[in-house]
């Protein structure tokens, strides 16, 4: 990995008055120029706290944050000049149109007027926002507002671009455009830190991943590294009929949520699992079954525990036709 643009070591932060819960508990993280690093974690894992420390809104209790060699803890104003951030919450831009908002932010970020105007038009065009470009923002949908916020962040991108849940509320078609833009940002040389809980989509764009749980990095590596554990494993999904749940021991541990059961099996057992499931579909015990290769999402669920991921992972489904519990 090239010299890191963002380098975080031993980052700790505890908010006062929240039962002393550690939002960040000793985080190490690097983001190199030209790469997208995905920071995964459920709600409350400490992702946004980490982002806020990088831009100097929150002060770490311990640890160091270097942005392109600048100490972001001691000199947040210098670090901010190198970073552009899309916050998790939508930036309210009532009174402005998406085009005006993007242009103004571009110029506030130091862009030259003509260049910013051109780049704004380009971004609005390629994110398919033209129909709303000159609509007062109080009349645009959440997804359009989200994409506008993305354009505001990247109209004059910092050397480090931090995107906190950029795809929330965005429709499936524009979401693809957005992922492609994020990849392009990195290919053009930016270091991109992508905070998300959308494991399935992020997996296709990121170069590295870090999984955050209770303020700690519980796993890090390339998507392939992380998925290595589940190579050769299959996920069996069963839609149960009438609460029937008589599973063979060969399925191992079965997680049942409502009428849905999920289990992991070795690929070598695929044929017998299919035979078993088909028999029970015919017997009326199962509505439907599916065998799919175990994914990064399964790894993620294993890492941070299924009980807390149900809400987080399934939330912004979109074009995947995700059918999670």
């Amino acid at each position: 990995m090239a010299e890191a643009m963002l380098s975080i070591r031993g980052l700790r932060k505890t908010y006062r008055g929240r039962n002393g819960a550690r939002a960040n508990d000793g985080i190490d993280l690097d983001v190199a120029p030209g790469t997208v690093v995905g920071l995964l974690g459920h709600n409350g894992a400490g992702k946004t706290t980490l982002v806020n420390q990088v831009v100097g809104i929150v002060r770490p209790d311990e640890g160091s944050i270097m942005v392109d060699g600048v100490d972001a803890v001691a000199q947040p104003h210098l670090a901010r000049a190198l970073v552009s951030v899309q916050a998790q919450a939508n930036v309210p831009i009532t009174g402005l149109t998406p085009r005006r908002a993007v242009e103004l932010v571009g110029r506030i970020r130091g862009g030259d007027r003509a260049q910013v105007r051109g780049r704004t038009a380009e971004l609005l065009e390629s994110l398919d926002l033209m129909p709303w470009a000159d609509t007062p923002s109080q009349k645009v949908s959440g997804g359009v507002a989200r994409l506008t916020a993305f354009a505001m962040t990247t109209v004059v991108p910092g050397r480090l671009v931090v995107l906190d849940e950029p795809t929330n509320d965005v429709d499936p078609v524009r979401r693809r455009l957005l992922w492609s833009h994020i990849r392009t940002l990195a290919d053009d040389g930016a270091a991109v830190l992508l905070v998300t809980h959308n494991v399935r989509e992020a997996e296709r764009v990121v170069d590295h991943l870090a999984v955050l749980d209770q303020g700690r990095v519980v796993a890090a590596g390339t998507p392939a590294d992380l998925a290595a554990d589940v190579q050769g494993a299959l996920t069996v999904e069963l839609d149960l009929a009438n609460g029937w749940r008589d599973f063979p021991t060969s399925l191992g541990e079965v997680a049942v949520v409502g009428q849905r059961a999920v289990a992991q099996v070795d690929a070598t057992h695929a044929a017998e699992v299919v035979a078993w499931a088909q028999a029970h579909v015919e017997a009326g015990h199962l509505e439907r079954y599916a065998l799919v290769p175990a994914s990064l999402e399964d790894v993620y669920v294993q890492l941070v525990g299924p009980e807390r991921t149900a809400a987080a992972v399934g939330a912004p489904a979109g074009d995947e036709g995700e059918d999670h519990r």
Partner: protein, 264 residues
């Protein structure tokens, strides 16, 4: 990656971060941002200010009956101050509290702009927004009471200073107090400024203890500055009041700047 759509290469801008725009340029752009965001409310703000001015001039006139010339001059020169102070002490904190609640303040703080530039931009915007109401307040007073004004050269800078200090105090209040508390304080301030401050009447009418309190608050100096600017033949601006006003302005700007720099 399965995405096939083309994203444009951000050619010239690429990912080069450049030194943030000159601080002054950034301040003006931020002011433009804030002004445009408020633009839809400005007509409403002006209407509210007109009501304030009319309430002070005509409403008080009703309370006191047919005022003698001295009282009339007090009322007429107090009204513009009330509109100025209301914008700064009431509307500014409400907007700042709202910006904090809706998250736009935190987002702005991620921009590569010096902290004081936000303050400068916001104070500029609020100072400007307050001025139309002040002018209308003067007009209302003159029309109702037929008073003769004697404008002093420091009227305009004085009015700007009053507007600036009250906006700064309002900004500091909203930055330092929890948003909900700030909202409540502004409601209380409306009554304090309208009824219990020596703005539309001389301070001698207030109980001794309240006069004492007002010696240390910025409201009376603000009223004196505007009044002496509008009718300098009749009123003067005590040096002590200038000092009190400057002290409040300085403390408020320092407090608001500290709040903007604060890291949780």
């Amino acid at each position: 990656m399965s995405v096939t759509t083309q994203a444009p290469a951000p050619a010239a801008l690429a990912t080069m971060s450049r030194p943030a725009a000159g601080a002054l340029r950034a301040t003006l752009l931020l002011a433009q941002w804030q002004l445009r965001r408020q633009a839809q409310f400005i007509p409403l703000l002006v209407v509210v200010q007109v009501f304030m001015a009319v309430a002070t001039v005509i409403g008080y006139g009703l309370l006191v009956g047919n005022p003698d010339p001295a009282t009339a001059l007090f009322l007429a020169t107090g009204a513009p101050t009330i509109t100025l102070i209301t914008v700064g002490l009431v509307m500014t904190p409400q907007m700042v509290a709202q910006a904090r609640t809706e998250g736009s303040l935190d987002w702005m703080r991620t921009l590569p702009v010096p902290r004081w530039a936000f303050l400068a931009a916001d104070l500029t915007v609020w100072t400007l927004i307050a001025l139309p109401g002040m002018v209308l307040g003067i007009v209302a007073g003159v029309l109702r009471f037929h008073v003769d004004l004697s404008l002093a050269p420091w009227l305009v800078p004085g009015a700007l200073a009053v507007s600036l200090v009250s906006a700064a105090v309002g900004y500091a209040m909203a930055s330092l107090l929890p948003p909900q508390v700030a909202m409540l304080v502004t409601q209380a301030l409306v009554f304090i400024v309208l009824l219990f401050s020596p703005v539309s009447y001389p301070s001698e009418r207030m109980p001794q203890w309240l006069q004492g309190v007002h010696e240390w608050l910025p409201i009376e100096p603000m009223a004196q500055l505007v009044r002496s600017g509008l009718a300098h033949d009749t009123f003067d601006m005590p040096l002590r009041s200038v000092v009190v006003l400057v002290a409040w302005g300085t403390a408020a700007v320092a407090g608001a700047a500290a709040a903007l720099r604060h890291r949780a």
